[in-house]
């Protein structure tokens, strides 16, 4: 109710995110929004469009292309970019492999997840970006729970979790020298459930992967992996068809799906609210490397 001067949780979160987006646009010279086509980055782009209405989003989006994409996601990316009228900058992992800056992992479990960091940092440096918006949330993972909204990266793109700037009130310190940059996380205080409630309330379009569909999958490491051209079956593995949806979207080689019949945002909310497993625990092989899998990759400069 407006008479009580209270905002619902998603509207309060929206206001906080919009404040952060505007603050960066006002104080940085060359910000960019990291866009993967995953739901968090889609929500972030949606918020950016709302924050600067009726003007267009005043910064480009940067897509770190692993080359291992779900076709639906690439197609969605191009449509979203066209709809919002933003400039798309693509940094391709393949280019770094071809140039010898990154070495492809081999074997059936090979993934380009870790190589993305090299490409991401190159994309930021080559374009002179001084701020990069990411869709990371603190509830996703325990190392991310320690992350600031304005997170300083040194000239090597690295994060030093033990030496972070204190962050008080809504006064953000984006001071940096040439070559250094700030990662900005406007969705820090959102949870997976908040994201879905917002998607439902705002009728935000997502890649079709996020809703239940039938596709060939394979059981691996306690997860369901989509049987794509990037996956080589291991001995004893068999693919089968199931009704699934994705809770996160990343590199097709390490992003799992969950069995689901939810075909709308509302039914996804019901599923997420009842779920007893985090989205990353359920579907991300990259976080299963070790207890500190995320912390180590973040220190190197990962998303």
């Amino acid at each position: 109710m407006t008479t009580a001067y209270e905002l619902s949780p998603v509207r309060a979160l929206e206001a906080e995110s919009v404040h952060v987006l505007r603050e960066v646009a006002a104080t940085f010279e060359r910000p960019a929004l990291l866009f993967s086509g995953g739901k968090d980055s889609v929500v972030l782009l949606h918020l950016a469009a709302k924050a600067f209405w009726p003007a267009p989003v005043p910064f480009p989006v940067l897509h770190v292309d692993t080359g291992h994409n779900f076709d639906e996601v690439l197609e969605f990316r191009d449509r979203a970019v066209a709809r919002f009228g933003v400039r798309l900058v693509v940094a391709a992992v393949q280019d770094d492999i071809d140039a010898g800056r990154a070495v492809e992992e081999t074997g059936p479990r090979a993934s380009r997840n870790r190589l993305q960091t090299i490409t991401l940092l190159r994309g930021i440096a080559e374009n002179g970006f001084d701020a990069a918006f990411g869709g990371a949330r603190r509830d996703e993972e325990k190392a991310r729970a320690k992350e600031r909204v304005f997170s300083f990266r040194d000239e090597y793109g690295q994060w030093d979790p033990r030496n972070q700037r204190p962050e008080l009130w809504n006064l953000y310190n984006g001071a940096h020298r040439k070559g250094e940059h700030i990662r900005v996380f406007p969705l820090s205080n959102w949870t997976e459930l908040d994201i879905w409630r917002y998607i439902a309330a705002e009728r935000i379009e997502l890649p079709s992967l996020y809703y239940a569909h039938r596709r060939p999958v394979v059981h691996r490491d306690g997860m369901l992996l989509a049987r794509t051209r990037f996956i080589t079956l291991l001995e004893g593995e068999e693919s089968f068809e199931a009704s699934v949806r994705f809770r996160t979207v990343g590199d097709a080689t390490c992003t799992g799906c969950v069995e689901s019949t939810a075909t709308t945002a509302e039914s996804v909310i019901t599923e997420v609210a009842a779920s007893r497993i985090t989205e990353r625990g359920a579907t991300r092989a990259d976080d299963r490397i070790s207890e500190a899998g995320m912390e180590d990759r973040k220190k190197e400069g990962y998303f």
Binding site: T2, Y5, E6, L7, P9, A12, E14, A15, E16, V18, H19, R22, E23, A25, A26, L47, A49, K50, A51, F52, W53, P54, A55, P56, R138, D139, K142, A143, R144, A145, K146, F152, P161, R162, Q164, R165, P166, E167, L168, W169, N170, L171, N173, A175, H176, R177, S188, N189, T191, L193, D194, S275, R276, I277, T278, G281, A282, E291, A292, E295
Partner: protein
């Protein structure tokens, strides 16, 4: 939504309490719990160590301590709760201040066996200082004192006596056992004498919506949105309620206007904008409004001033706060230079004793500080408004955030008295033309000619001549760097007053130091006034050859010292609006060049 900050050390069972809160309210997921169980087993612990849920970094898990503030999320059917878990170790005050800065409620933990200790008092004081008006004291480990009602009452009374010295409006006490879950989420059967609610129930019900300031309308302009036929001022409402049709003023310039429309994100029309909404406002008049300006109601304005009294908490171990040091201050959407004028006292956070002999503030120390800002700040006291009353200090050498500040109410004698006449109400628009250069460079001649031409053209103007002013306004000042700085400051202030009054102030002053001139410029810019710096660049040998007053000769002879151009430096302007050189012609031609610049839109 409720934001809470917890404080206490591992020994008090804080992490266990949060773990219990998350676990029993089912905010923890099976895979997170499995990871905790794995790690607990590996460390040889029998039960899953719930503290591991909140320790996110490898070093924290390895050392068994919490290093940094961690944020946790709890969603119940009634509320979303954001928990800032602030560790009580090395950087205890820094962490607690950070967590408390955005908190509605502070949760303080004590061990029932130990009762109120120094740390409990410190945490309560910081919560109070940071304007957290709701405080919950959790008396933990009740199982270890046989669920004793007497012990709980004893601790409660002791804490109440201490809290009387603080500004906490709402104080609650809950006896719990975090280890066993008593009174955390569910009421405990072990303490039938306790008539209150469980901790979670209290957190779900506590009323925080009234803590915001809904009286003093404040909208710091964060970003100007320009689109075809559209100019809107975007920002986050920092206080009060704004409605379309409201009469407003834009500070610091003081332009009066009216709100035409207010939009939420994405163009949703807003009838009433209140904190913390992010909105875009369109005014009836086309004004020159920029980031850092503030929109408020004409009869309810913030304080305007450069002398800021504040409680400051020092946040870094790499340096200390000492009088004379300069920092960048970030306040609302403004960024200004600030110098520490003096440290009034340092407060002992354990005893609340004030040490007036203190000369610096180190990590975790809190003191009352007077700062002087380069441009006026538009502020309220922190007690009245947490948004317009807070600031951070950034060290320019390291770019680190080194201090958090809470502004105190200025003393009545220095309150800015608002004017009833806006700048647009005056017949003419004033500004300042500042001619700087060596002695005998020709400044005064050009200034006199410029003044004559302006007045002839019907434009009110007045010349402020450095030498002339030293006969009156600045009679007591000499030529030391300090006196020169004060001389420039005074002339700058007078020029600004003339400009505000609608005159063109034509200043001719050697003003040799760049920093002094930049300060005057900053003051003008902050007040929304044009400041035109004109560098009369006549080479020193030409000046010396002219030497109409015989000053160079006396300086060369050593009769006078500290003479600019001879034995005192002249700092050339970095970005003057205009440079005049001898080849530009006679004083009349030079004045014409300045005039051409004035007439440009």
């Amino acid at each position: 939504m409720l934001r809470l900050a917890t404080a206490g050390s591992v020994d008090d069972g804080k992490s266990t309490l949060i773990g219990r809160l998350l676990h029993d309210s089912k905010a923890i997921f099976a895979d997170q719990l499995a990871a905790v169980e794995r790690t607990s087993r590996a460390r040889g612990e029998d039960e899953p160590n719930l503290a591991l849920l909140t320790d996110g970094l490898r070093a924290e898990r390895e050392q068994g301590i919490t290093i940094d503030v961690a944020y946790r999320y709890l969603v119940t059917p009634k509320r979303k709760i954001i928990i800032a878990d602030t560790p009580g170790h090395v950087q205890y005050t820094r962490n607690m201040v950070t967590g408390a800065s955005t908190a509605d409620l502070a949760l303080i933990l004590v061990d029932a066996r130990k009762g109120i200790v120094e740390q409990s008092r410190r945490h309560a004081f910081i919560a109070s200082l940071l304007g957290v008006s709701h405080l919950v004291l959790c008396v933990n480990k009740m199982d270890l004192v046989d669920w004793s009602a007497e012990r709980f009452a004893e601790i409660r009374e002791e804490f109440r006596r201490f809290a009387m010295k603080l500004t906490v409006t709402d104080l609650a006490f809950v006896p719990v056992s975090a280890l066993h879950g008593d009174n955390v989420v569910q009421r405990s059967a072990n303490m039938p004498w306790y008539e209150g609610t469980s901790l979670l129930h209290h957190l779900e019900e506590v009323h925080v919506a009234s803590d915001r300031n809904l009286i003093d309308a404040r909208l710091p302009v964060q970003y100007v949105i320009r689109a075809q036929g559209f100019r809107g001022y975007a920002g986050t409402v920092a206080g009060g309620v704004l409605k379309p049709g409201d009469e407003v003023v834009v500070l610091p310039a003081g332009f009066p206007s009216r709100i035409r429309e207010i939009w939420g994100p994405g163009g949703e029309p807003v009838d009433e904008a209140f904190p913390p909404q992010a909105v875009t406002v369109r005014l009836d008049d086309e004004l020159d409004v920029a980031r850092g300006d503030l929109i408020c109601r004409p009869h309810n304005r913030p304080h305007v001033g450069q002398d800021i009294d504040a409680m400051v908490c020092w946040l870094t171990e790499r340096s200390t706060l000492t009088p004379g040091a300069r920092y960048t201050m970030r306040h609302t959407t403004r960024s200004v230079r600030a110098q520490v004028h003096d440290l009034t006292y340092r407060i002992d956070v354990n005893t609340l004793h004030r040490d007036e002999a203190a000369e610096s503030l180190s990590l975790n120390e809190i003191g009352r500080v007077r700062l002087r800002t380069q441009a006026p700040l538009l502020f309220d006291s922190y007690r009245r408004n947490r948004s317009t009353g807070s600031f951070i200090l950034v060290d320019d050498a390291t770019n680190n955030t080194v201090a958090a500040g809470m502004i105190t109410e200025p003393s009545a004698s220095v309150v800015w008295h608002p004017t009833a006449v806006g700048r647009a109400d005056r017949a003419t628009r004033g500004m300042t033309v500042w001619l700087t250069g060596l002695s005998a460079s020709g400044k005064s001649t050009v200034a006199a000619e410029l003044e004559r031409r302006l007045v002839l053209a019907g434009r009110p103007a007045y010349r402020l001549d450095g030498d002339n002013l030293r006969h009156g306004l600045n009679a007591g000042l000499g030529f030391s760097p300090q006196d020169r700085a004060e001389n420039v400051r005074r002339v700058g202030e007078v020029a600004q007053l003339f400009a505000v009054a609608g005159l063109v102030a034509v200043v001719s002053l050697i003003s040799p130091y760049r920093a002094d001139r930049d300060l005057v410029r900053a003051r003008h810019v902050a007040a929304g006034l044009d400041f035109l710096e004109v560098f009369v660049d006549t080479p020193v040998d030409v000046c010396e050859a002219r030497d109409p007053k015989g000053m160079y000769a006396r300086a060369r002879a050593g009769e006078i010292t500290g003479f600019t151009g001879v034995d005192d430096p002249y700092e050339v302007p970095a970005e003057p609006a205009l440079v005049l050189r001898p080849e530009d012609g006679d004083p009349a031609a030079m004045a014409a060049k300045v005039l051409a610049l004035l007439d440009r839109p």
